[in-house]
């Protein structure tokens, strides 16, 4: 027979459990730190190329006077970009979710913005704008797609029953948005912001490589690169990580508080979305416009900004370059060769990146403290510019496929992971309790309920990851292997071969759009079979 315990005591026991969970997260952080310290002290990784945290701190202490203006400048660029990018993203997400047609029309532009290689965009931004503007733009672009996607997903996943209540009182789009959709999308949007934070910091830093400005962690990093002093580079990288990490933490805390009250109390069983009438003509028309729109915008932008023709290839100029000039055959040959080198790794990278993200997301449910412990590491991969990290990676992994994979995964997994984890956390308790009542362990709960219930998030995550895979491979090629599209792009910069720069950019965007489109097609089949609302 059990002893009676006063209820109050149970409450304190419960909160003790929560404290324990928090404690084990902190403990994991400490463990990680100690582990890193040991590795660094004993010079276990790459003959000491990975410095110990204590060495990094010591170095930061020495360099401390240098930091404030750099941190401040990066904060300014990243902060403004974050605000602007996310404001636009949320507004666009609302528009897209409310009028799905607009989303289909804008898809080309959206994916293009997301998939454009920063190494191609940054030089153009730098000659088009001055001062902080390139940084703000690149940071904003880094935020736009993730937050926009998150907003759309969040709004689309709003419980139909609640929407019906608002509708029943004559609330239309606007009111529905305010009272139902926005609020229920907040956790998803916050997950978008969580990913956007490191993206903004990295975006600002990357644009700082474009020079002009004297200050910014990116400027500092470039100056420090040539010193061969990893502890300095890590100090800079970790400063960026801390900036992004604080934002991440803030949004995580808010999200954690809100997620509980955002998920349905009872399992929603709303009528499946009516099967969209498949009009071939409409689909084709939309597809064409969506495809043409980025080209149109591209043309318009160049016309407005008056970028000189030698630098700014218009679509027609590019066509000429690729098909009409004497050198076209050579150019096409180079492109084809590069593509042949890049594409296979992209496929592998995509698969591995997604699997990794998925595994992490599952672990975030199964082993919360471990994943939280891992988060700082994940954030480092998102904020540490690869220019600085690659030399270390090269020392560890060489310059072969494993390095390409590593870089590709690091560029792909994070948004996908955060999105999936958010999806899993949104599954209503009532749904999970069904298998639980039949003794299902955490794995079965995931397999039978949480995963299928969060399929829309899973696909949203996949859509985030897929365009990035190509980018990852390109970065690895540019920094380490000297092959493929990434190298071609960088080399073309040195030759002032703007035709090729634009060609590579366009090809990489087209491929990303293609992958994205494939995911959307699969998503539509899978989700509509299950009566879920797929992406438009």
């Amino acid at each position: 027979m059990a002893t009676k315990t006063p209820a109050a005591k149970t409450e304190s026991v419960l909160s003790l459990r929560q404290k324990l969970a928090r404690y084990s997260t902190v403990r994991n952080w400490l463990l990680l730190l100690v582990f890193w310290e040991i590795i660094g002290q004993l010079r276990l990784v790459a003959d000491g190329a990975l410095p110990a945290p204590s060495a990094i701190l010591a170095r930061m202490w020495v360099d401390w006077a240098d930091y404030p203006p750099h941190i401040w400048a990066t904060l300014e660029g990243a902060g403004a970009g974050f605000l602007i990018g996310n404001a636009v993203a949320i507004a666009a997400g609302v528009l897209f979710a409310t009028f799905p047609l607009t989303q289909r029309l804008a898809r080309g532009v959206n994916v293009a913005l997301f998939a454009l290689p920063p190494i191609a965009v940054s030089p153009i931004l730098v000659i088009t704008f001055s001062d902080m503007t390139p940084r703000i733009i690149l940071a904003a672009i880094g935020c736009y797609f993730v937050t926009m996607s998150a907003t759309v997903t969040g709004i689309q996943q709003t419980d139909r029953r609640i929407v019906d209540v608002v509708h029943a009182y004559g609330g239309r789009q606007w009111k529905t948005l305010i009272y139902a959709q926005m609020r229920s999308a907040i956790p998803a949007i916050l997950s978008g912001l969580r990913v956007a934070a490191p993206n903004a910091v990295l975006g600002s830093i990357l644009a700082e490589f474009g020079g002009g400005g004297r200050f910014g962690l990116g400027v500092y990093l470039i100056g420090s690169l040539g010193r061969g002093e990893p502890d300095r580079l890590w100090g800079i990288g970790l400063s960026a990580t801390v900036i992004a990490g604080l934002a991440y933490l803030l949004f995580s805390l808010i999200a954690t508080r809100l997620t509980g009250t955002s998920k349905a109390v009872t399992v929603p069983a709303s009528p499946p979305a009516p099967k969209a009438e498949k009009s071939m003509v409409l689909t084709l028309a939309l597809g064409t416009v969506s495809f043409a729109l980025p080209f149109l915008l591209w043309w318009l932008m160049l016309a407005i900004m008056g970028t000189p023709a030698m630098i700014a290839k218009t679509p027609v100029g590019l066509f000429d370059y690729l098909f009409m000039m004497p050198s076209s055959l050579v150019s096409l040959g180079k492109l084809a060769t590069a593509l042949g080198q890049t594409l296979p790794m992209t496929m592998v990278g995509m698969a591995v990146g997604l699997s990794f993200a998925f595994a992490l997301a599952l672990c975030s449910v199964l082993y919360t403290a471990i994943i939280r412990g891992f988060m700082p590491v994940a954030l480092v991969t998102q904020t540490m510019p690869l220019v600085a990290l690659t030399p270390l990676l090269v020392l560890i992994l060489g310059r072969g496929p494993s390095l390409i994979l590593w870089i590709t995964v690091s560029v792909t997994f994070f948004p996908a992971f955060v999105t999936m984890a958010q999806g899993l956390s949104m599954v209503s308790r009532a749904a999970i309790e069904v298998p639980k009542a039949y003794g299902a362990g955490p794995f079965r709960q995931l397999w039978l309920v949480s995963i299928p219930a969060s399929l829309p998030y899973l696909f949203a995550a996949t859509r985030l990851a897929v365009p990035r895979a190509l980018l990852g491979v390109m970065i690895a090629e540019w920094l380490a292997t000297g092959k493929g599209l990434g190298n071609l792009l960088n080399q073309s910069r040195g030759y002032l071969d703007y035709g090729m720069i634009w060609s590579v950019s366009v090809v990489s965007v087209l491929i990303s759009v293609l992958f994205y489109q494939i995911v959307v097609a699969i998503e539509q089949r899978v989700l509509s079979k299950r009566g879920m609302a797929p992406a438009q």
Binding site: D164, A168, Y169, G170, Y179
Partner: protein
């Protein structure tokens, strides 16, 4: 009959193509609920009662036929704030407290919350949720959630009230209490009311007319008038005419 201020459902049909099969949820259904009338809708599970309500609320459109609420389209009526509804499922917003959930229709209609302060307190008391004003839906029992939904349906003092099995999750005692209260509110407000219920006794106790539906296809099979005066008291349940009506409705439900 005053079609201008009541509910007019005119030869409405609605079918669904679910996974491969076609379900005729409503087939040529016509029903007039004059202003101030109280109509109970009763029928087997799946006969189209909720579908009919969704059409009347403008949440769904009929394949053919027409629904007019106060002479307006359902959407327009909803927008004008004339209607109130409690769905079969409580459909509370999980992030709003009980009180805020009850206030939701006012927010949507753009009415001032402050003007309804007393009303809300009264309604919370009426549905027995006093002390739970600040509770979130996730902290309530099934029946408590349903009661919050009832309060929400009443908060706008609707002229037209749709209730889809509002008392399904309540115990009999509470249910009786709520029946009496609903009658009182109805008599005070004179709201045209359409109540979906599975309780034959409840239907008779509350309604002027009991509309009996049949399924496959969903249709109205009989309309039975209830002759009792108002206010009706719980004694009525023992009334012989009451029993006769109960039997008649049960038989109508049985397909006789």
């Amino acid at each position: 009959m005053n079609a201008e201020h009541g509910i007019t459902i005119n030869q409405v049909s609605r079918s669904f193509t679910g996974r491969g099969t076609l379900v005729q949820a409503l087939s040529d259904v016509s029903l007039d609920c004059p202003e101030g009338s109280f109509t109970a809708l009763i029928g087997p599970s799946g006969c189209g009662k909720s579908t009919l309500l969704r059409l009347a609320l403008g949440l769904d459109a009929p394949d053919s036929g027409q629904v007019l609420i106060s002479g307006m389209t359902p959407q327009a009526a909803a927008k004008s704030g004339k209607t109130g509804v409690a769905f079969q499922d409580a459909a509370l917003m999980p992030w709003r407290t009980v009180e805020d959930n009850i206030l939701l229709p006012l927010d949507v209609l753009g009415r001032k919350r402050s003007a309804y302060h007393d009303e809300v307190a009264k309604l919370v008391k009426l549905v027995g949720l006093d002390g739970f004003e600040k509770a979130l839906p996730g902290e309530l029992s099934g029946g408590m959630r349903q009661r919050a939904a009832i309060a929400r349906a009443l908060v706008t003092r609707p002229e037209i009230l749709f209730l889809d099995e509002p008392f399904g999750a309540l115990d009999q005692i509470l249910r009786r209490q709520m029946n009496v209260e609903l009658q009182r509110i109805w008599m005070e407000s004179n709201a045209t009311t359409l109540l979906v219920t599975h309780g034959i006794d409840e239907a008779i106790f509350l309604a002027d007319r009991v509309v009996v539906m049949q399924s496959k296809p969903g249709r109205i099979s009989r309309i039975i008038d209830v002759p009792f005066d108002r206010p009706r008291t719980p004694d009525l349940f023992a009334h012989p005419t009451f029993h006769a009506l109960e039997k008649e409705i049960a038989e109508a439900l049985d397909g006789h």
